[in-house]
Structures are given as C-alpha cells and as structure tokens.
C-alpha cells in the first residue's frame, strides 16, 4: 500500500520522511498506526499537497538550478524572459479566495428567507386579478397593485440586505492593502527594485535583515542570515539559513527560505523557485478554502424562525383555503384570502432589520477593536463556548520585560504592566547600584534616534528582545542610559554568542579620578556563576561559598520555573596598576581575566501578560467560556503565563503538580483529579481522536504548548465534536484552515497575515484577548435583543392573521386590509425593531453559561406567549376599536355578523344599518377603510406597549429604567408619526385604504395597551418569584 501523505502529518518532520520510509523499512509502521486515527477525519477535508513535497530544488547544485530555471546566478534573468514567465505564472501573490459573483449574491437575497412566500403572494395576486378580469374586464386593479407592492418589497429588502452585506465586505476591502512589498532583484545583470508581485521563478533576489521573504527562495549565498519561520512552522526561535543542503525535507533544510516569513538578520542571495499560489504558504492558504465554512448559529436560528413562520402561514393558508373552497366561497375570494394570510404572517421588514441590528452591533464592536467581517459572526461570538487563544501578542504584550530580579539573596518583583511606570522594589542597596551599572553598560541595544517625545515603553529599539527589555528597564529606573554609557566609555566588547553564552564589555569609570576599568558581563546564569569567586551582598563582596551558591540555584530554579528567561550578571574592577589607561584590550586573545569575577545578581524576563487579560479570562470563566491556550512556546513558559492570566486558576493542578505534591510518579496520579492539563504538541500527535475528546471534555483548563499551527485545526475539530461553538485566534497563514474551520475565526489585526484575515470572520484590531471578551458580551446582548425583536414581531402576527380568519368564518366586513398590514410590517415596526437592538443587558450576561445549541432564538414559550397571550390581547383590543367604529357609524356588531356578502356587493347601494340608515357601496367602502385605519391604529397603540414590555424578559420595566434606551422612544415616536401621516397626511389617497380617523379612536386601545403592560409585569413577577417553576418554564422566552 502506498500511503498518501497528507498535510497534517507533515508537522515539522515533513511528509517526505514518511513517504520514504513507507517504501522500505517497517520502522515507521507504528507511526502509521497512530496516524490512522487522524486519517478518517482528515480525508474529508484535507487535500493532498503532494506536489509541494516534490520540491527538490534544495538538493540541486547551483548549476542544475541555473539549467532548470534558465537563469544565471550572476546576471539574473533577462527582462524579456521575466516578462514571459510573469505572463505564464501570473503575479507573485496569493490569489484571494474565490468570490461568489455579485449577481448570484443578489439573486440569493431575492429568494432567501421570506421572499419565496412573498413571491407566491404576488403571483396569487396576479392570478386573482386574472380571474377577476376574465369575469369582468372593468374590475379594479387593486390586486395588480398589491402584487406589485409585494414584489417591490421583495426587491427592496433584497437590495437592502445585499447592500448591507456588501458594506461589511467592503470594511475588509478598505482594511488596507498592505504596502506593496519591494524586492531587490538582479535582472539583465543589474540590481533593480521591483514590486515583489512581479517576481518570477529564476529571479535572483537579495534579502537582508527586516525583509519579508518575497517568494520561496533557494539560497545561493548567505551572511549570517536568520529567518523567523513562525508563521509557517510555529517555531518562534529564529533559524539560521545558509546555502547548504542539510535535510531531505524542504521544510527543514537550511537552504530554502519561504514566502511570507521574515529575515531577521544577516543578508542572503537566492533564486526564486516558487511564486504566488505555488509557494508552500500559498498551498496551505488554499487549503483553507477546502475547509467547509459552517453556517453561523444566528443563520440557523433565523432559518428556524423563517421555517416556523412559513410553516404556520402555509398551514393556515392551505387549511383555510380548503375550508373556504369547500363551503362554496368563490375561488377568487379564497385566493385573496390566502394572499392575506401569507402577507399578514410574513414579517416583511424583519430580516432587513435583523441585518441592521447586526451591523449596528458590528459597528459597536468595531469601536471596541473587534472588526467583524461577516455580520452573522456578531452573534456567533456570543454563543462561543470555547476560545482557543494564541499566547504571544494576544494574551501577552509581545515584548520581553524584566519581571524579577535577584540580588542580596532576595527576589524582587518588577512592574510588568504596559506602562511600566513605577518600579517599587528596594533600590537602596549597593548591590543594585552595581547591578544597574552592568545592565546599563553590558548592553548593545540603542533607541532609534528622534523619539524624544515618545514614552519609553513605546520607543523603538535596535537590538534583540532581551537587550531591549534591559535597556527600557534601566532607562525607566536610571534615566538617560545613553548619557551613562557616554560617561563610561566602552573600550572593548565581546558580543553574545551561542558558544560563550555570555556577553562582555570593558568600560572606563565615570569618575575621572578612578583610573580602573570596569569589566561587566551578563549571560546564562550557570556560566556566569562558574566564572565568579565572590558574590556581592549588600554592596559588599563576599566569598561565594556553598550556601551562597545554593541560594543562587534556588533562585535560578524558581525564576526558571516561572517560565522566565534568566540572565546572570557579574563584574570585575580591573586594577589600575595591571591595566593602565593605555592598556590595549584584545578581545580575540582575551588579555584580561574572565574568572574570579564578582557575581552581582540575576534578572529574569518574560513576555508579560497584558494587564487586561486576567480580568477578561475571569469574565470568560464566569461566562462559562472555556479558554484554551494554544502556543508554540515552551510548556513551562506557557504554563506560567496561563497561571498568571488565570487560564489555569490558582487552585487547580496539573497531573505533574499532583505528582510533585504527593511525591509519586505521574502514572500513579488519577488523571481525572487534575483540573488543568498542559499538553505538548508531541503528546498531541500521539493521541487518538477519543483520547483528545476525553482530554478536552474532562479538563476544564487546558494549555497546548509546542504545537504547530496545523495542530490547531485538530484541536478545533476536537472541540467542535464536543458540540462547542469554538472561537480561534490566529495570525499566521498556517492558521487559516483552523480559522476557517472554527465557528468564528479571529485574526490578529496588527501581526496577522492577509491570509489569516481573509479566512477569519473577525479581525481583532488591537490583538488583545480582552477585546474578544467585549465582543462576546456584545454577541450575547444581540442574541437577547433579537429574541425580543422576534417576540415583538410575532405578537402582531396574531392581530393580522386572526382578522382574516374571523372574516371568513363570521363574515363581517374585513377588519384590516393586506396593504395595511404592510404599513405595520414595513412602516411603524421598522424603527422599534432596530431600537430593541440598542437595549441594554437585563443583568450581567457574562454570568451566564453560553447558549445551548438548542436554546433557540425563537422557542416555544416565545411563540406561545407572543401569539396566544399578548397577541390575543392585541387582537381583542383592535377588534374592540373596530366594532366601536362600526357601531358609532351605524353598524352595531350584531348587524355585522354575516354581512360580508351584501357588504361587498357593488350593486347594493342602499344597505340598511342598525339604525335604518341606508349606505351606498362607496360609503360602506369608506367606512371599511376607516375600520382598517382604526384597526391599524389600535395595533400600533398596543404595539407601543408591546415594545415597552419587550425591553426586558425577566426584570420589571421600572427596574430596567423606562428611559434607559432613548432609541425605544424614537421608535415609539416613529410609530405614532407614521400612523399620523398615514391617517391625516395620506388619508385622501384612496389606494392606501387609509382615512382620517376621529381623534378619540386613537385612544380607544390605550386601556388594552395598559392591560398588556400590567399582564407582562405580572408574568415577569411570577418568573422572578418562582425561578425554575412551571411558570418560568412556560412563560419565560
């Protein structure tokens, strides 16, 4: 059997190895068995990227390369050939993911959601007119208009939804094209700077420290070149690159640099061997499109709602159609009735307003640094139950900072907050004076000039991470470091290297009378200690005896155990007689002592957590969200950070901790007793799917360390198998499959790659974990508020459908016309819908568990309460007004029953009412319109109460504050104003079926509005009084 290599078994060792070994020895057999567990799962989504691994350019000699790519190492390609290749291969850029054509997007909007129902309604309208026309060519065009209005509604809402979607997509488009990368290329024997997009295979490029690698490059020469491959392999350590072929695996060999990684230092020349999508990173990025994008929870919820409404309206419509036809109604009437039921049932404006609500929240979130690409993701964040977070940059500040100091046998804690303002440890000791001097002098890092007004912590520094940390640390405490260095002129220096593991420099003293030289040294603590014979305690040199050395090791272990990078510091005053002022120090021969030095202290550094993160993690915890850390870092560092931000809480222990505490072997510990777990990438690789599931389900605090970005996908899938809604943060290109797979992928805005941002649903502008939590809060709030909106909408459905039913059964004049229901759906209710999106949380929504997947947006209690409770009151209230209008005009309710046929007969122009008055058809028609208007106004008035009660679902309105949400009042005002305009402004436009209504009818429904309010307060009171009781279960939505 030929085992097909797959992306995710590549890891760091590469598939090439597996492939090779598979053919021959059975050594890899067990490895196969282990990877089998993964296979079944990978197959469905991971494409092979075998081609990528056929890459063998790293094995070729320079000559072979020249032949293969038809280039010359010295003169480069000719411009003409480059142009040809560019035309053949396309630009050297990752092609953006395939977009759905705009027309398809638009058409989808036209048939999605309720649109189908409305199309049916419109077609029925025209059919009805057809029937009418065939009977009587002079019949009115009302049905044609109604059909046209319905189609118009569909098209307008379609355009609106399309526009909203396009707008949120544009946010991303405007998100900033990265400044075009430039590449230094040799063409026609000349060095040229060209946009890296124009690179082609065979180009000879030069790179230097700080550059982004413009394509996959086979190195031809290198001067101390180091690259950061973290975005590809997850390894955060810089890796040196040379032109030697060191490994069969292209990912491992030293002579290849990969597209989108960065060159940290040194310089190199290389030949482009892959460009654009055929680069390794390009192939991984294209994997992301192979990973299915799952439906967002809110999309599922809205679909559910549409299904309910459509189901109900079709059900009622069909049932009543059958009934009306079977009791010998004319088919025309039945069809018109069917239209009425459909239109009354469908909340036409709702879906558009849901989009508005979501985009409002998206805007609010953007202000809080969460840029949402996909509107529906707004809510997804709220239902998140697991967050898989990166460490570096997201949880931490992404800069080394001095965290602890050890001198005078004491550990001091330094301030690691972002401002770094007050260092409160004891600085009076003489030891500190010496230590600070070493820190200041034995340091090659410098501030970039021209930053006088920038706060110290924000200044840009030339130098590596630890030196930067030390420089800033000393600058904060001592003031102008550069000045101190100037006063202590450096006479000799040995920079840090990995063999010595120390850094040394020799300085003149700043006291002009002191002719001695000061030699300062820092480096790996154990190496430094080896060179020392004394130790400084309280400013005095003391012999370094056993007990002092022991104290040193204790401190060293302790600081190392905190996951911190520890440096040791020592110094020596070179006596003036042996080393006169004119002494010439030679760093190569080391003509100065490097032993019997005086040990001064230890300093430890860490990339400290962002100060807002612990709070945010606590919030997540109380919100029932599990935070999993996934990092490429060392487990100890990862665990230390996890502890300090609370991902592993203070009380919980890992298996190792328990073993250590009980002093037993790790195998003896019942692993379920450990709440926390630190799992490394290696362990993860050896786990079966079941083991991973078990791990994820049974440990509440998990840290994955030393993982590759690929393993993130495995973790995400594991979480999703548990039924969790998973949010994943990521920045590298390699993260994009995981970002895509996650329910909500969160890309880092600052350090994130474009591919990651493309695959993500959300972009975190400040890279801060705490911003995710505020996003979660917003997401939960919008879910609650949409629930309120749905409840609000459904209520009036009853008041719009019931009249149609009673009209057929009891046969009184039609209480509300189809067109009038549209005024409610598309007029008075629009702003209130949106207003509810502004409603504040009823109580701490972050103290709640994440939403259950079957905790529906529109659930049974919501439907029952809205339709059968409030909806019935609204309907009855509206009917009271309707009957009053008719009674006061002359038709008492008793006269109305069964009146429909005569009432609608155009030939009856002297219909007698309850008082013996006679009505022409048009007078009746006008009265009917007045009835519509009254019914409409009654619904509007009661919808005001309905709107107010929907502000809360559990608390009293007075507790929430009647005026807490000003937009609600805007909504109420809009309802009243629209109703006033329809009645008084447009009352004379007959096609709108509205009339000027007597003033008192406006107030007729007020008692029922009050009744609604009182009833709802009572409902909420019972819910609060008996939480968990019958009432709560059935009446709380």
């Amino acid at each position: 059997f030929q085992k097909k290599p797959e992306m995710y078994s590549v890891e760091l060792s590469g598939t090439k190895n597996i492939e090779k070994t598979d053919k021959g020895d059975g050594k890899e057999k067990h490895r196969d068995l282990k990877s089998k567990g993964w296979n079944c799962r990978r197959n469905h989504q991971i494409q092979e990227i075998k081609e990528e691994l056929n890459l063998n350019d790293h094995k070729l000699s320079n000559e072979d390369l020249e032949n293969k790519y038809g280039t010359n190492i010295v003169t480069g390609l000719s411009s003409a050939r480059a142009a040809n290749l560019l035309a053949r291969d396309g630009p050297n850029a990752l092609s953006p993911p395939k977009e759905t054509p705009e027309v398809v997007k638009f058409l989808k909007q036209l048939v999605g959601g309720f649109s189908i129902l409305l199309w049916i309604g419109a077609i029925l309208c025209w059919i009805a007119y057809g029937i009418q026309y065939s009977n009587d060519p002079s019949s009115s065009l009302d049905n044609v208009y109604l059909g046209a209005v319905l189609v118009l509604v569909v098209i307008l809402t379609g355009i609106f939804a399309y526009y909203q979607e396009a707008k949120s997509t544009n946010i991303m488009a405007s998100f900033g094209k990265m400044i075009p990368q430039q590449a230094l290329v040799i063409r026609d024997a000349e060095k040229k700077t060209i946009p890296s997009e124009q690179l082609v295979v065979g180009d000879i490029v030069e790179i230097k420290g700080g550059d982004q690698i413009p394509a996959d490059i086979r190195l031809l020469s290198s001067q101390g070149c180091k690259v950061d491959n973290s975005s590809l392999t997850g390894e955060s350590e810089p890796q040196s690159r040379s032109c030697d072929f060191t490994d069969d695996n292209p990912l491992e060999t030293k002579n290849i640099c990969f597209y989108s990684t960065t060159c940290l230092e040194g310089a190199a020349t290389g030949m482009v061997i892959n460009t654009g999508d055929s680069t390794i990173i390009g192939q991984i990025a294209s994997l992301a499109s192979g990973v299915g994008n799952e439906k967002t929870p809110i999309a599922i919820e809205i679909e559910h709602f549409v299904h309910i409404v459509a189901g109900v309206s079709v059900f009622i419509g069909i049932i009543f159609f059958i009934i009306t036809v079977s009791i010998k109604y004319p088919v025309l009437d039945s069809i018109i009735f069917l239209i009425g039921v459909i239109v009354a049932n469908v909340p036409e404006g709702l879906l558009a307003t849901v989009t508005v609500s979501l985009s409002l929240t998206a805007k609010r979130m953007a202000k809080k640094n969460c840029l949402v690409k996909n509107l529906e993701a707004v809510e997804t964040l709220g239902s998140t139950s697991i967050i898989c977070s990166d460490k570096t940059g997201t949880l931490t500040q992404n800069r080394m900072t001095v965290a602890h100091l050890w001198f005078d046998n004491q550990i001091f804690t330094a301030d690691t907050s972002e401002e770094h303002s007050n260092q409160t440890f004891d600085q009076s000791s003489g030891t500190w004076a010496s230590l600070s001097k070493i820190i200041t002098l034995c340091n090659r890092a410098e501030f970039k000039p021209g930053q006088e007004n920038v706060p110290i912590m924000k200044k840009t520094v030339v130098g590596d991470a630890s030196e930067t940390a030390l420089l800033k640390f000393s600058e904060v405490i001592l003031g102008d470091v550069m000045e101190i260095r100037k006063r202590n002129r450096k006479v000799a220096e040995i920079p840090f290297n990995s063999i010595n593991k120390f850094q040394l420099s020799i300085h003149e003293m700043d006291d002009p009378n002191d002719k001695r030289f000061l030699m300062v040294m820092k480096g790996a603590p154990e190496r430094i200690l080896e060179k020392c014979s004394t130790i400084m305690i309280n400013g005095q040199e003391q012999p370094l005896d056993q007990s002092r050395a022991k104290a040193f090791y204790t401190a060293y272990m302790e600081l190392g155990g905190l996951g911190e990078r520890v440096l040791g510091f020592c110094h020596l005053y070179l006596p003036a007689d042996e080393f006169p002022e004119t002494y010439s120090f030679d760093v190569d021969t080391m003509n100065f002592p490097t032993s019997n030095l005086c040990f001064v202290g230890l300093l430890s550094m860490i990339d400290p957590p962002r100060s807002t993160v612990p709070d945010a993690v606590t919030k997540c915890r109380s919100a029932g969200i599990k935070v999993i850390m996934v990092t490429g870092d060392h487990p100890i560092t990862a665990k230390a950070i996890a502890r300090s931000v609370g991902i592993i809480s203070a009380k919980s222990e890992t298996v190792e901790d328990i073993a250590k505490r009980l002093n037993i072997a790790m195998e003896q510990v019942n692993k379920w007793d450990a709440k926390a777990a630190v799992v490394t990438g290696m362990e993860l690789k050896d786990m079966s799917q079941e083991q991973l599931d078990e791990l994820l389900a049974n440990h509440s605090e998990i840290v994955f360390a030393r993982t590759s970005p690929q393993q993130k996908l495995i973790i995400v899938e594991g979480c999703q198998r548990l039924g969790a809604v998973v949010a994943v943060t990521g920045d590298g290109v390699n993260d994009s499959p995981a970002l895509k797979k996650a329910d909500i992928g969160i890309a880092m805005g600052i350090v994130g790659s474009d591919a990651a941002k493309n695959a993500a649903d959300m972009v975190l502008l400040d890279d801060n974990f705490a911003s995710i939590v505020t996003g979660v809060e917003e997401g939960r709030l919008i879910f609650d508020n949409l629930k309120k909106t749905m409840a609000y909408t459904l209520t009036k459905n009853m008041a719009m459908v019931l009249p149609f039913m009673l009209y057929t059964i009891i046969e009184f004049p039609l209480p509300i016309a189809t067109v009038t229901t549209l005024f409610i759906d598309l007029g008075t209710d629009i702003i209130p819908f949106i207003a509810l999106a502004y409603e504040k949380a009823e109580r701490d929504i972050m103290n709640r568990k994440p939403r259950h997947k079957n905790d529906r947006l529109v659930n049974k209690p919501l439907v029952l309460y809205s339709l059968l409770n409030i909806g019935v009151i609204v309907t009855l209230g509206a009917f009271v007004v309707y009957f009053t209008v008719y009674a006061q005009a002359g038709f008492r309710p008793s006269a109305l029953i069964g009146l429909r046929v005569k009432w609608e007969n155009n030939d009856v122009n002297d219909l007698e009412d309850s008082y013996g008055q006679e009505w022409t058809r048009y007078q009746r028609q006008y009265l009917e319109w007045t009835g519509y208007t009254a019914f409409f106004v009654a619904i509007v008035v009661q919808q005001i109460a309905n709107l107010i009660i929907r502000k809360t679902r559990r608390n009293s309105i007075f507790h929430q504050g009647l005026f807490s949400n000003k937009i609600i009042w805007v909504g109420i005002a809009s309802q009243i104003i629209i109703a006033l305009i329809l009645s008084y402004g447009l009352g004379s436009v007959t096609t709108l079926n509205c009339t000027m209504l007597r003033a008192q009818y406006w107030f007729m429904a007020v008692p029922y509005a009050i009744l609604i309010w009182v009833y709802d307060e009572v409902r909420k009171l019972f819910i609060r009084l008996y939480p968990g009781g019958w009432w709560d279960k059935n009446m709380y939505y």
């Binding site: 389900a697 013996g916 006679e918």
Partner: protein
C-alpha cells in the same frame, strides 16, 4: 471505563464540558435547572436512535419517525413533548387566562356600548350626503326590454308592485299620520319614545302608482322608475327648499328624452318626511319617493340617464361614488 468517567464527570455528551465549569452565580440557578432538564430530555431523545443503532443519517424515514415520536411518544406518554399532566395544566391555565380576558373584554365592550345610543347613531358623517337608489332594481342599472314581449319587463312590474306594497293607501292611512306638508315633522321627546311617521301614499305616484296602469307604463314603452333617497337619521334638507329630482340624458343627445313626468309633480321630497328618527322608534317610516315617468324616450337605442338630487347641502358629483346624490342608469326600450 470511558463511559463511566463520562457519566460521572460529564453526564451528557455534547454539552458535557459545561458541567465542569464552576457555577458561582446563584441567580443562574434556574438556568441550570432548565439546562438540566433539557439535557435530560436530550438524553432521552438521543437515547432512542442510539438504541436502534442508527445514530447518524438524516433520512426522511428517520425524520418521519422523530416527527411521529414528537406527536405521540408512547414511552414517555407524551404528545408534542408534553405529558398528559403537563397538557392539562397548560390547558387549565390558558382556559383561565382566556376566561378572564374574555371577561375583561366583555366588560369593556359592554360599558362602551352603553355609551352608544341604540336610537341615534353617534356619527352620521360617513353616510352623508345621502345616496340615491332606484326601483325596480335587480342587479342591474340597465333597463332593456321589449314592449311587445311582456316577459322582458314583467319582472320590473313584479318588483315595483312588491316594493309599493308598503305604500298602499290603506296601510299608510292605518299606520301613519297625515302631517302638514312643507314643514319638518319634528317630534320632540325622549329618543326612546316611539315616533309617528308621515303618510306617503302609493296614490301620490299617480300614473306610476300601478293603480291605474298595473304595468307601470312598461307595456306602452313609457316606463316608470321610482327614485328613493337613502335614509339618514336626523337628515334635514335646508328649510323651505326641499330636495328636488331632475333627470336628463347623461351623455349624448339631450333630445333622446323628450319628456319626463315626475310624481309627485313637485319632483321633490317633501320636508314633512324629515327628519328620520331611526328604525327603533320610527318604526313605520316609509321613505318618500319620486317617480319618473319616461313618457317619450327614443326607442331602440341605449339612452344613458342621470337623475340627480338638487338642493342645498346635497352633493351629487362625488367622483368615486356614483350613487351619492345621483343615479345613472340606461334605458333601452325596444319596440
């Protein structure tokens, strides 16, 4: 082994991990209660397909089964996810809710309708200005008949005869009073007192009364058409100026109608028939009529006729309403 762990630490599979999270919030207890119950329910639901060994797949058959189980679950004795007890409870609650709601609404309606008089309509502006209707009327305002074929006009005669039964002189004299003409017949007193009605005798219609000519002129090609103004409670034409009727050709040659006789000859509705006090108290009120006797109309041709009311406070040109203050009909008398 794994199963055991799960049951101990994470009771239900998909949401198991949630139970590992500490719950410090007492206010959330009911959420938890909900959740637990849902989880139980879920476990039950999930248990069934597991038992049959077909946990995956979404075939129609399985959907149908699930639906069927939803409708009636014999194991739990539940229908629509409710047990009998739960159903009866919710039905009782809703019964009481609707009963009290009905009571509230009934009280509201009752008190509201106490304020609405049964004798006088509260507002009459919708029914004003008065509409007009003609007799005979049978679904159509087009009078097509052939003088020589009685079958074509017989139904008009029957209709008119039937309509005029209430105007028979004997009946009018018996039921109604002969009140002085030319002035309103105002009857003060409580609105619930019975009101007297003025006589409008069939004989006032002379040639169109059907007394002398039982065919109302249809047999001679001189049809009678009665015009009736719609009743409106309290309607009073301007004093001293009774509402008049006048007919003419609506479109076309005015000479198509050479003469019309009106009965009563004034061609007006006498003031004594106003005001109308409503059907409850003004029981025997008979609407006054004006008969139009088309004595000389062009034959064998469609003649559109418009009869209008004329008088102060009368509107006869509402565009949308062809029956307010006017009536339009066609005569096509074939010989």
């Amino acid at each position: 082994m794994r199963r055991q762990h799960r049951s101990r630490r994470a009771p239900t599979f998909p949401h198991g991990y949630r139970y590992r999270l500490d719950d410090q919030d007492e206010a959330n207890q009911n959420y938890l209660a909900d959740e637990e119950e849902e989880a139980e329910e879920e476990a039950r639901v999930m248990g069934v397909p597991n038992g049959q060994g077909q946990p995956t797949g979404n075939t129609w058959w399985q959907k149908l089964q699930l639906m069927n189980e939803y409708l009636w679950d014999p194991e739990q004795r539940m229908s629509l996810a409710r047990t009998g007890q739960s159903w009866s409870l919710i039905l009782v609650i809703y019964f009481f809710f609707y009963a009290s709601l009905a009571a509230v609404i009934t009280v509201c309606m009752y008190t509201l309708f106490l304020t609405i008089s049964t004798y006088m309509p509260t507002f009459t502006e919708r029914v004003k200005p008065p509409g007009v209707m003609i007799r005979p009327f049978a679904h159509s305002l087009n009078f097509n008949f052939n003088v020589s074929e009685p079958d074509t006009w017989q139904h008009y005669v029957i209709s008119l005869n039937g309509f005029l039964q209430g105007y028979n002189d004997s009946l009018q004299e018996e039921m109604n009073v002969d009140c002085p003409p030319g002035q309103y017949f105002i009857q003060d007193g409580n609105e619930d007192e019975d009101k007297k009605a003025c006589q409008f005798k069939r004989s006032f219609l002379k040639n169109c009364s059907g007394l002398e000519d039982p065919t109302f002129g249809y047999s001679t090609g001189q049809p009678c058409i009665l015009l009736k103004m719609n009743r409106i409670v309290g309607f009073r034409p301007e004093l001293g100026d009774p509402v008049k009727v006048s007919c003419k050709v609506q479109r076309g040659d005015e000479n198509d109608i050479r003469s019309i006789n009106y009965y009563p000859e004034s061609a007006s509705f006498d003031l004594r028939y106003y005001p109308y006090y409503g059907k409850l108290t003004h029981v025997n009120y008979t609407s006054p009529l004006v008969a139009m006797h088309f004595t000389d109309v062009v034959k064998n041709q469609v003649v559109p006729v418009q009869c209008q009311l004329k008088g102060k406070g009368i509107i006869n040109d509402v565009i949308n309403d062809h029956f307010v203050g006017r009536v339009i009909f066609t005569l096509n008398i074939e010989t």
